[in-house]
């Protein structure tokens, strides 16, 4: 099982995925690999190769209130273009998931949590709302991990 937190610690709320990854890593769960990732799509595809169950956490911007949590069952349905369009990467998470879908390279289970962000200024700390949301998402991911078979 693989948990990937995507983000950039140097850009405010964009750190949320990284914060979640660290909270989960602290639990030292057997059979669960945790990665902090910058979000570049092709290397994401490599990162999940061979894993059957993958949880990914990233910051999104979709117009909801800051700290709102979105959950996507990405193995079953396409990711909404709008929420993931604002990646710093030209080939980012959404592109990786959808290209992988076209090439039959998706993990059997792929759950993506998006945390609604607000401020992405360079050098800023993550906001209090996002910090709290990251805690809630960590708990939700841990809950899902606990009920998932420990496949690779």
């Amino acid at each position: 099982m693989l948990v990937i937190g995507i983000g950039n610690e140097l850009r405010g709320d964009d750190a949320a995925g990284i914060v979640v990854a660290r909270r989960i890593r602290e639990r030292h769960l057997p059979g669960v690999r945790v990665l902090e990732h910058g979000g570049e799509g092709a290397s994401l595809m490599e990162a999940w190769t061979g894993a059957q169950s993958v949880f990914i956490v990233d910051t999104v911007v979709s117009g909801s209130a800051p700290g709102a949590i979105h959950r996507f069952d990405a193995a079953r349905e396409p990711l909404p273009a709008q929420a993931f369009q604002c990646s710093t990467h030209a080939f980012g998470l959404r592109e990786a998931v959808e290209v992988a879908r076209a090439l039959n390279l998706l993990p059997t289970r792929l759950v993506i949590y998006g945390i609604e962000g607000k401020s992405f200024a360079v050098g800023e700390e993550i906001s209090a709302e996002l910090e709290q949301a990251a805690t809630r998402v960590s708990e939700r991911v841990l809950g899902e991990v606990a009920t998932t078979d420990l496949a690779p």
């Binding site: 950039n8 979709s62 710093t88 030209a90």
Partner: protein, 446 residues
Amino acid sequence: MKAKTIKVDVLARVEGEGAMTVKIQNRRVTDVKLRIFEPPRFFEAFLRGRKFNEVPDITARICGICPVAYQMSACHAIEDAFGLKVEGPLRELRRLLYCGEWIESHALHVYMLHAPDFLGYEDSIQMAKDHRETVQRGLFLKKTGNAIVNLLGGREIHPINVRVGGFYKIPSKKELASLAESLKSARDAAIETVKWVAKFSFPAFERDYEFVALRHPGEYPFNEGRLVSNRGLDITIREYDQHFAEEHLAHSNALHSVLKDRGAYFVGPLARYNLNFDRLSPLSQETARDSGLGSVCRNPFQSIIVRSVELVYACDEALRILDSLEMPDAPAMAVEPRVGVGYGCTEAPRGILYHRYRIDEHGLILDAKIVPPTSQNLKTIESDLWQFADNNLDTPQDTLQRQCEQAVRNYDPCISCATHFLKLEIEREPEPADSAGRKCEIDAED
């Protein structure tokens, strides 16, 4: 009279955050502005007071696509200040690491970002549905580059194994040798890539550019060389500030680089190729010739072919290094900080990346200057758009818009060293308003 406006609020498939306006009035282009929201200045301030040995890791965070370039320019600049020259196997391993980054970055741009323009797809997702094997070839190339960066860089994303004087840890000879097999397949895949992209159709478009790149006595340039151009520039890196200036323009957070008294210039694969064709490996030269490319190419739309030739070169060079590599005695040379100013310039995948540091007696950074390749190309990108739109005034609006976006992507602008979105806007007078463009309703720039 009412201006016609086409808005592309999100120009897809560029690494960046910015906006583009092309204004057409009375059948004449009257204004082109590339606006970039760029944070590198933050890093220059952030580096002040930090220890010299933190600089490669801090600057690597500027760009998720070309962190190795930032590390290499930083190391070379600091080593220059300390009077240190890294030679022999350590130098070769740095070159190998750079090969990895070129392969990763070029494969990504050629396959995922630029090829969809030529094949008429909205994006790589649509392209992947129809061209599965081709996209897989691109991903394989990317993966081969990643493997080099992972092994020498120490981890998957932000490499942490590079230090002033060399590396923290050197992989074993066996680990290094294990790269060779996939590199041989990657080299074949790169040759296929050149053949594939050479068949695309290219808008007829050439300008009389001043190309600027490093030039080394015996190598296609990565880390070292003099800075040369096709108009007589031939200087050491230490002379950079005497010849290049950065202009601040109201419409952009990014500084526009110019050659003093001459203006815009062109950096990146096309510049390197045109100034260093004779330094490419025989196989790379042969592949370029077989594709129909001469030793000079002035059509920026054909940069995709040149980028692919550089993919062949990077695989070929990596194999040459692995084949002849002797293991270094130590992972790094001894480093003695001293007061001084150091200059470094290396060839990032997108072109020359200049760093300058002033360092005190304790090895602390007093000030830093970083000039990424994309800000050096900004003025040239604007000029291309100006000329291209002017040449194609009768082209239907949506086609012109698409081609203008493609013209921006010729430069693989990486504004991660500066970015989120690039927004393109074409205003045309006197036709009525039109809003054919894509719109991103969610804007993280607030």
